[in-house]
Amino acid sequence: MTRVTALGRFGIFAARVSWRAVTPWWEVNETARHTWLITARCVLPVVATVFPVGMVMSLQGLEIFDMFGAQRLLSSLVSVAVFREISPVLASVLVAAQGGSAFAAELGAMRIKEEIDATEIMAIDSLRVHVVPRVLATIIATPILNLIGSIGGIAGGYFTAVLLKGEPGGVYLANLWALTQPSDLYGGLVKTTVFGALIGLIACYHGYNATGGAAGVGRAVNDTVVIAVTSFVVANYFLTSALFGAIG
């Protein structure tokens, strides 16, 4: 299958899933169950990843700001970077690695074990029952995880600056919002909503169309992580330009 054909098939799959996601009926309980599962699975890895990155930013930032006597701006730098870029990207990477791969594996196993065919033969729309709840779950869970990750990143910066390097805690907290605007927070949430949709669609596409037994499921999981991460990292540039380009 050529890449163009594969892209076309993905486009059709995404359109069919999107149509079902915005029209009744919805599997609300399944969506809630998957959202909870993905959030629970990813929350610790997200915090454990973004927190140390906040620490590193603080460490590196302090070194530079020390030269100009502008240490008070450190928390502003950390918060803007964490809200705009670090947390959205890292949270999404972990959702792709943890949640997306799990969804691709689950759907791939269901395809191989003929559970998806069984659903269709029961005259039940398998996309609506098995795919839409998972895609909605990644769309809902990724911004939530981003928010938690953002708090973790800022806490990581505080930990290094205040507790390890002895900077005044009041100054760090007072300047946290000096350069940060609400649009930084909203922008991060918009980005992670889009990234969540990309991860969910890519994971479910690969799982739903898995062929070739256990090896095929493994391939679907691998492709999901690689393609999802590549896709949203590329999309991140355009979204950042669109959301923050005008703000400067």
Binding site: E114, E115, D117, E120, A123, D125
Partner: protein, 250 residues
């Protein structure tokens, strides 16, 4: 032969260079058991997937009543599928649900029954397949034969007109295999529905089928009653049968 419920007309299907169905045509009679036999890889499962509209033929027609599944819209296919039940090779049970929830699953989408009523109907069907106490049992705790029986209970829960079986005896020991055959025979009498059975178990085929279609190399090489099959003079049919049943001399 009684009036056909399904008519297959000149079906062709290939996957890449591999020709799987090569001009298959025959009728499946209403209220009877039709077995589709043949060696592995001769297109039996592909044929059944055409009947339920999971695959579309490259050429040909699949008539279920007055709907051609080859050209039907998604809505039409779903309407036709409500008349079908299917037992898959491994049961195709949802591992995230209990045995009973699997059986009750189609009721949630196609009836207005309350949860308690769905449970009652599912328990009735489980009792029909001689598994009265497994409603709350996880599917992982079921044996191969039990999985098939739960799959069968799910296939008949909406009281379909047609039930399809994909290798109902595969992977089962002879005793469990006989139990499944007896179950199919009993349900045929009790429910009076049309059964289509894919199998390469000739003994089972002789026990349960009224009509037999044999596929070989993507072509229909024999079609008729079990007696007609046993008396077939076609070398390929005789070769296929001779390991399992005693054939009359030519």
């Amino acid at each position: 032969m009684s009036d056909p419920i399904i008519r297959l007309v000149d079906l062709h299907k290939r996957f890449g260079e591999l020709v799987v169905l090569d001009g298959v045509s025959f009728d499946i009679p209403r209220g009877k058991t039709t077995a589709i036999i043949g060696p592995s890889g001769t297109g039996k499962s592909v044929l059944i997937k055409h009947i339920v509209g999971l695959l579309e033929p490259d050429q040909g027609e699949v008539w279920v009543g007055d709907v051609d599944m080859a050209t039907a819209s998604e809505r039409q296919k779903y309407a036709v599928r409500k008349r079908f039940g299917m037992l898959f090779q491994d049961g195709a049970l949802f591992d995230s649900m209990t045995a009973g929830e699997n059986v009750a699953f189609p009721l949630r989408f196609h009836t207005n029954l309350s949860e308690a009523e769905r449970r009652r109907v599912a328990e009735e069907k489980l009792a029909l397949v001689e598994l009265p106490d497994v409603y709350d049992r996880p599917t992982a705790a079921l044996s191969g034969g039990q999985r098939k029986r739960v799959g069968l209970a799910r296939a008949i829960v909406l009281e379909p007109e047609v039930v399809l079986f994909d290798e109902p005896n595969s992977g089962l020991d002879p005793m469990t295999s006989d139990t499944i055959d007896e179950l199919i025979g009993r349900m045929k009498k009790q429910l009076g529905i049309t059964f289509i059975v894919i199998t390469h178990d000739i003994v089972s085929c002789v026990d349960i089928a009224d009509y037999v279609a044999m596929l070989y190399g993507g072509k229909l090489v024999e079609y008729g009653t079990v007696q007609q099959l046993i008396h077939s003079k076609q070398p390929i049919v005789r070769d296929f049968l001779k390991r399992n049943v005693e054939l009359p001399p030519l």
